[in-house]
Subunit: 398 residues, 2 copies
Amino acid sequence: MKFADRLNRLGTETAFAVAATATEWVAKGNEVFPFHLGDLNLPTPENISAAMHRAVSEGKTGYCPNAGITPLRAALAQSLGKQRNVLFTPENIAVQPGGKPVIGKFLRSVMNPGDEVLYPNPGFPIYESQIEFNDGIAVAYRYLDTPNGFQIDLDYLESKITPKTKALIINDQQNPLAAEMTDAEREKLANLANTYNLWVLSDEAYFDIRYAGESKSIVSLPGMQDRTVILYTFSKKFAMTGWRLGAAIGPKEIVDRISRLNTNEESCTAQFVQWAGVEAINGDQSGAHELVRVLKTRRDATIAGIQTVSGMRVHTPNSAFYVFPEVSETMARTGHDDLTRFALDALHNSGMSFCTRRHFGRPVIDEKGNYIRLAYSGIDSSQIDKGLSRLAEWVNSK
Amino acid sequence: MKFADRLNRLGTETAFAVAATATEWVAKGNEVFPFHLGDLNLPTPENISAAMHRAVSEGKTGYCPNAGITPLRAALAQSLGKQRNVLFTPENIAVQPGGKPVIGKFLRSVMNPGDEVLYPNPGFPIYESQIEFNDGIAVAYRYLDTPNGFQIDLDYLESKITPKTKALIINDQQNPLAAEMTDAEREKLANLANTYNLWVLSDEAYFDIRYAGESKSIVSLPGMQDRTVILYTFSKKFAMTGWRLGAAIGPKEIVDRISRLNTNEESCTAQFVQWAGVEAINGDQSGAHELVRVLKTRRDATIAGIQTVSGMRVHTPNSAFYVFPEVSETMARTGHDDLTRFALDALHNSGMSFCTRRHFGRPVIDEKGNYIRLAYSGIDSSQIDKGLSRLAEWVNSK
C-alpha cells in the first residue's frame, strides 16, 4: 500500500532516540543521568489535581465548546493580558490539547503552499517539520554566541525576508539555547514584522519559568497584537506535561479559524482537564512558585558541575530549564570530532545522557562550534552533581 | 492580515448551530427537547473515573510515548482483535485524543493532492471537510431507502471509482442513518477495496452500541487487514465523550506514520486518561452494559413517539443512537417545503430540537426525500415521550 508523498516532508523529535539509547544502557545495568528529557520529574500541584477530580465527580465528562470552556478562556484572557499588558477577552483564546497543536494550527491558518516562514535554529524541531509538512518553506534564522549569551543574528534574519515570507516564529526563553531576547532584539523583530506585514507565532512555553528578571512578550509592542498568536502551555509552569493543556491566543479572526480546526481535528480538549486549568490559573500559586525554586537549585547545580568539566563553556540562563554548553575543547581532549559520537561515548563512560545541537533542526550554513543541551527538568540536584562529576572524571583524566 | 487559502475548503459540524438555536429558545423561557445532541447525558462508569484518579495520585502526569502507553495499546489489540477475529499487536495501535483525530491523520497519511476519497453521504460531516482541507477530492456515495432500511447504493459507489480513487471511508452502524451493512454489502465493499487497491477507513465509533444482532468489521474479511484503519473511540461505549480518548488501529506501517503525526500534532494523549482507558477495556463492563440498556429503552420510546406523528416514516435501527425519519408528508401537512424552516417551526411549536439531513454533508445528485435526525443519547425517556407528544399535537392538529 502506498503512502502520501507529504509524509516525506514530516520531521519528528529525534530526541526520543536519545531516550531510547539511554533506556538500553540502563537495561544493561548502568546508571544513567537523564539530562535529555524536556519533561519534569515533579508532581502537578495538588490543588490542580483536586480540581480535576471535582469536575469529574460533578459529571463534567461530556463534550464542551470547541474553543474551550468559557471559564478557562476568561481566566487565560485575564491572566495573560495582565502579565503582558494588553487587553484579551475570551474570544482571543482557543484552548488546545497542549501547546504543540498551536504550531500546526497557526501554520495551516496563515500559510499558503510555497510561503516562507522564518524559524529559530537551533530550535524546537517541530517548527521546521510542521512548516514543511504543511507545504511551506522553512527558512532558518540563527544565533550568535556572544559574551552576553546567545543573540539572534538580526542582520542575517532580515536578509532572509523575501516577498514570500508570511510568518516569523519566535521563541523567547528559548529551547534549546535558553537564550532570551534583549528589549532591543524584541523591538527589532516587532519592527520587521510590522514593516514586512508578517504573522508572528510567539512560543511562550517557558515564559513563567524564570529565576531572575522579568519575561516580556512581543505582543506588548506597538502593532503586534493584531498579528501575533501566542503559544501558551500549562505543561512547564504547573508540571502538567502529560495533561495536554494549552492555548492559542491571538486576534479573534485567527482564533475563530483555529477553533474551526479544533472542530475538525479533535472536537475539544478533555473537559475536566480544562476545569483543572481554571484552578491552575486562578487558584493557589504556591505549587508553581515551588517548582521554579526547585529548578533554580538544579540550574545552579548544573552550571557548577559544568564548570568542573575541562573545556566546556556555558552561559548561565535566567529562564527555561536548559543549558547549551559549547564542547569543542572537551571533544578534542577526549579525541572526538563527531558530536553524536561524543554524546554516545559520554553516555558509555559517565552515564551522562543528553541531546546535541543536531536534535534541534538542520544545521544552518557556516555554523560554528559544537553544542550539547542539558535539560535539568527531569533530574534531581544530587543526580546532577553525580552525573557531572562522572563526566568531569572521564574528561579530565584524558 | 491574510489567511491561508486552504481555510476556504475547511468545513465544520453545522449541528453546533442547532444547539445554539435551541439554547436561545430555552433562554426565552421555552422548554426544549434536545434531540440534536450526539453527546450522552449519562455518567462515565465509576470504575473508569477511579482508575484515572489512581493514575494521577501515582504521578502518571508526565509525557508518555507518542503512540500511547503500552498497556493501553495491548488492551486494545487484544480486545478488538478478539471481537473482530483478527490478530492485532500493540504495534497496530496508535492512541489518539478521541476518535475524530483518526480521520485527518488517516487522510494525511494516504492521500496526495487531487486524490479521490469515497465517503458516505449523508454521513459524519468531518469526512467531507477533512478530505477537502487536506487537498483531496471528496466523492460522495449514497444510500437507498428500502423497506429493509437504508442500504448503500453499491452500483453508484462502484461507478464513482476512478484511477484517482485512493481510499474508501465506511461507517457501519452509521451516523446519522443508523444504517447497518448486510454481510453482502460488507463483502462487496471489501471486494472493491481489494480490486481497486484502496485504503479503507472503517469508522467503528458505534460498533458496541447495539440492541440486537452482532456488529461485524470489514477488517475481518480476506485481504482487508493490510489496507484498513479502524477508527476506535471510547466516547460512546463508555460515555467518555469529553475525555477525548480513541485510537487508530491498522497495519504497523501506517500506524508508525500516524504516530509520527502524533509527535508533530499533540505529542501524546493525556497520560492518566489512557490509564483510565485500560480500566475501561480490561475492567468491569457493567457500566457499558447498563448504558446500552438505557439507550435501548430510549430507542423504543423514540420509535413509539414517532409513530404517533402524522406522516413520519422511520426504520427501527439495532445499533447507534439515532433515527432518521422521512418527513415529507409531515412537512406538507404543516405547510412546509423547506426542511430547515420545518425544523425551526417544529422547535418553536413543540420544543423539539433536531438536526436535518443538511447537517450531514452536501446533498448528493438526484437526492429524494426529506429527512431529519433524532439523537436519543442526550435525552431521558420521559422527555422523549413528552417532546414527541408535543410534536404530534402540533402536526396532527393541522
